[in-house]
Symmetry: C2
Subunit: 430 residues, 2 copies
């Protein structure tokens, strides 16, 4: 048996501690599967004394995580600190410079600096692996780089944030409003005290940026993503979605259009008959459409100590087995710089909810605005009557251009009988 | 750039022709992703002149597929002939002996001779890869060998036969009976003229045997699988399943029990709230339960030229990149010989449908038989009355031992008021 692969773990939070636990518990199993042992040799975290429920006695302790990059007994640095810059970035760069392989769960770092880090790793001849950065335990990066690599990818979309999916699922099941369910999710530990990173779509966008790069062979471009979160989704919208045969999901979607690469994160109406509609609670899922394989769905837990540790260790297994690939599947120098397909040129169907004064002529004004912008109506629903009071009206459209839709909505918002800003949710054809 | 990887294709049916087409169409893409070209150099099939919609002009033609094993311009033989023995087996053995890598889509061959072939390949230092043999385009073998390899697998189950799933889905959606839907599937080309291989569960069992080996690190044991097909599923059962909150799916299931390895293929009642219940039509899905990753679902097209070619070529990509692993993840000599956990000792819940004469006392006789065998009743449904005529009665049980259940059913079948053999469908806790 060859020499053990020696791991230095930076960060002993949930994921770091979970990774150490897995490597300890499955020591023999991993040695059998890899043909060599995978051993933690050094760790680094802020508080040395904290009880993490794992035995750290045999490992060298570094107060400064950057020391892992210099530790001669470390072959691979597992960066499990997080954050797009600061010490996490410094550690990854220094580890690569020190010709150590790097495994990371850090989506923000890769979304911001993925292409540059991939170049550094290739130049140094080391692996930069990040299975845990996207969709937790689901081996989705491996799917793109290997399992589905025979395909030209046509579209990728997914539920990439478990907090949002938990909130939307709970809203649907209980009929409660966003703020109420969010507060409960915070109490249960499913949402952070500052939830904006999750509920405003930023976390999903980080993951989408990475997926897009590995799926389409282009440079990571987080700034090119159109991002909307779920704060404006109401219980009313969820109930209407159900009535119309849809569920509302926060999706990250990437595809090539005639204008370039389209990347967007926003709430979608997805048809009830599609697999993604049934991905509920904290589960994540990624759907890949390849030209030969057709539709491929990968679903699993997107966060948590166990699933994330599973993904981190799968990268360590690849390294232990001597399997390495360019970070984004093809050499970084060959990654394309694709133009951003602007959201204004997006074509799709739309759900619009208006609060209007229940008075004759209102619908005529609304539909005239749509007609003038060449947005063609598919259906209209107005439930209940309350003369001269505000009532919801729901419209769905056929495929239309986003810019036209926005112009029509601006006109509609200015109507005196429309008493709240219109709500728009895109209907996704899956 | 290194030398091209040279492929010899044996069999130019749907899968073989699809593989050639993919390799031709994605020539440049694959060369970029692999760092070297993947080139077909030789082919073999029965009829040379048949039009397959692909250009074979540049390839050496062998009337005898075994010649591929000797062709000096072939590095990898892709065995796409099929069948558990005969020429397919001879070709794989001869190719390995000639130190050529082998990629195959042949589930029957691996289910029968997988362990022996894995030993031969290891001894010769070549790769034996078979992603296409299980669940078509879904990279499920790669999931077990790599993506989820950090986990001890607790249970694997899946929808492994698209024909059966298409029939069950259509029966549910139309209310029609098995024979009727099967005849239509045959007309549409979704089922073979002789459908027994599919509808009696044999094809699913071949795939399960392979999955079990790679998931649990044991020798392939097709003979140890309990196999039942879907011929006895009636429209009545499907309607009752729906009413009780279930769907009926043909599942292949493997898990470790206190008695050994349990492998079974049979129709199951699966709860509507589970991902597998929503896998419909010709789609396949594999659910993995790992101790760290939790539940992981992979869904996609399980058959057809495109998805199968995608899987075959993913294996070729691995070989082109110089990535090789033992066929069943760990060296063949280390695969365990696990005892078979007998079906009689299986514990689970059951759905039973009886046709009984509608007469006082019948239910008392039935429930007495269950009580005597210590089978505890969960629910009983009798819809409609028709005094002195045959009516369906449906029972569901709590967890019980299969042997007890069978004894109770034998007693029930002998009751004078029970006019048809009882139907049993296992309820799976997922």
């Amino acid at each position: 048996m060859t020499q053990p692969l020696r791991i230095g773990i930076a960060g002993l939070g949930t994921v770091g501690a979970g990774t150490v636990k897995l490597l300890q518990e499955h020591d023999a199993l991993l040695a059998q599967r890899c043909g060599r042992a995978i051993k933690v040799t050094a760790v680094s975290a802020r508080e040395r004394k904290r009880d993490r429920g794992i035995d750290l006695a045999g490992y060298r302790w570094h107060d400064d995580p950057l020391k892992l990059a210099e530790d001669p007994d470390v072959d691979v640095v597992a960066e499990l600190i997080g954050g797009s810059d600061g010490v996490a970035k410094a550690l990854v760069e220094k580890s690569i410079a020190g010709r150590k392989h790097v495994v990371t769960a850090n989506k923000a770092l890769l979304a911001m600096h993925g292409t540059a880090l991939a170049r550094l790793a290739e130049a140094a001849g080391v692996t930069l692996a990040y299975e845990a950065a996207v969709a937790g335990g689901i081996p989705v990066i491996k799917n793109f780089r290997e399992g589905l690599a025979a395909n030209r990818i046509e579209r990728v979309y997914g539920i990439l944030n478990g907090t949002c999916n938990y909130i939307l699922t709970t809203m649907r099941k209980t009929g409660r409003e966003f703020a109420d369910v969010l507060a409960e999710a915070q109490k249960l530990g499913y949402a952070e005290a500052d939830p904006s990173f999750d509920v405003d779509g930023v976390d999903a966008a980080h993951k989408l940026a990475i997926l897009t790069s590995v799926a389409f062979g282009c440079e990571v471009n987080f700034a090119g993503i159109h991002v909307e979160g779920i704060r404006h989704i109401s219980a009313t919208d969820i109930a209407y979605a159900e009535e119309l045969g849809y569920r509302i999901k926060l999706l990250g979607i990437a595809r090539l259009t005639e204008f370039g690469i389209e990347q967007r994160v926003h709430p979608c109406m997805v048809p009830l008959g599609t697999p993604i509609a049934h991905v509920e609670g904290v589960f994540n899922a990624v759907v890949t459409e390849g030209d030969y394989v057709g539709q491929n769905v990968a679903e699993g837990r997107g966060a948590g100590a166990g699933p994330t540790a599973s993904a981190v260790v799968s990268d360590l297994i690849d390294i232990a087995r001597g399997r390495t690939l360019p970070a984004f599947s093809i050499p970084a120098a060959q990654l394309q710089k694709l133009p951003v397909s602007p959201m204004e040129r997006h074509r799709g169907a739309y759900y619009i909810r208006l609060m209007v004064v229940d008075r004759p002529g209102v619908i005529a004004d609304v539909t005239a605005a749509l007609r003038d912008e060449e947005v063609s109506l598919e259906a209209m629903l107005q439930r209940g009557r309350a003369p001269d009071e505000a009532v919801p009206v729901v419209l769905t459209t056929h495929n239309a251009v986003e810019a036209s839709m926005r112009r029509a909505l601006a006109r509609i918002e200015n109507l005196k009988t429309v008493v709240e800003p219109p709500r728009l949710i895109r209907v996704e054809t899956l």
